[in-house]
């Protein structure tokens, strides 16, 4: 059973508009969340993260919102650019006392920004 879900496999947005990518999680112990971006034939690259003590984190055009009660987070890209076309992975982690804090990835959402 997937602990991190991205229910939209794909999303198309016009250039200049807002892209909203959604992510849901089931494990209430998750306390840190990340978004990774992946271009074809390349490895994922870190984009932005948020700790569970916050409900928003912003970095330029990218903002992540966290709603702990709903176990939901979203990534907003404003304005969207054609270079943002990629697969976006949501990921989550829970602090472990005695071992590595494993990061669990969602299945990804493919974003297409149309010029």
């Amino acid at each position: 059973d997937q602990q991190v879900k991205q229910n939209s496999p794909s999303l198309s947005v016009q250039e200049g508009r807002i892209s909203i990518l959604n992510c849901d999680y089931t494990n209430s112990m998750f306390d840190y969340f990340l978004w990774y971006k992946k271009y074809p034939a390349e490895g994922p690259t870190f984009l932005i993260s948020i700790s569970s003590i916050k409900d928003k984190n912003e970095d330029g055009r990218f903002t992540v919102f966290l709603n702990k009660s709903a176990k939901h987070l979203s990534l907003h890209i404003v304005p969207s650019q054609p270079g943002d076309s990629a697969v976006y992975f949501c990921a989550a982690s829970a602090r472990q006392e005695t071992s590595y804090d494993k990061v669990i990835f969602g299945p990804g959402t493919s974003l297409s920004v149309i010029p």
């Binding site: 991190v4 034939a41 390349e42 490895g43 994922p44 982690s93 494993k102």
Partner: protein, 113 residues
């Protein structure tokens, strides 16, 4: 080359053969990871290593073997490849001090026929 590299980038092998995927990083990161990416599953952790000679299982370790004799290298071996191991494999590394951010290699696309 600086960073994290994987070789080969593409590999076709037959069922039952042994194949080794290589991963090399130049940052002296303590942690290294192997993931597989499959449609609908995202990235799933196969094995990870916290330091040289320390390895541990991830979500999907069956059929894979790892070793880490040197900090910079983390090879992944499929001892007897099966078609279900056809996938894209990513190696990643992380510094001890980094909270969760991992740095990924470019991936190896493996096809088992």
């Amino acid at each position: 080359d600086a960073g994290i590299t994987q070789s080969p980038r593409y590999k076709i092998t037959e069922t039952g053969r042994q194949v080794t995927l290589m991963c090399h990083q130049t940052w002296s990161h303590s942690y290294m990871f192997w993931y597989r990416q499959d449609l609908g599953h995202g990235l799933r952790l196969i094995y990870y290593s916290a330091a040289a000679d320390i390895t541990d299982k991830g979500e999907v370790p069956d059929g894979y073997v790892v070793s880490r004799s040197k900090t910079e290298n983390f090879p992944l071996t499929l001892e007897s490849a099966t078609r279900s191991q056809t996938s894209v494999y990513f190696c990643a590394s992380k510094a001890w001090t980094d909270a969760y951010e991992q740095y990924f290699g470019p991936g190896t696309r493996l096809t088992v026929t």
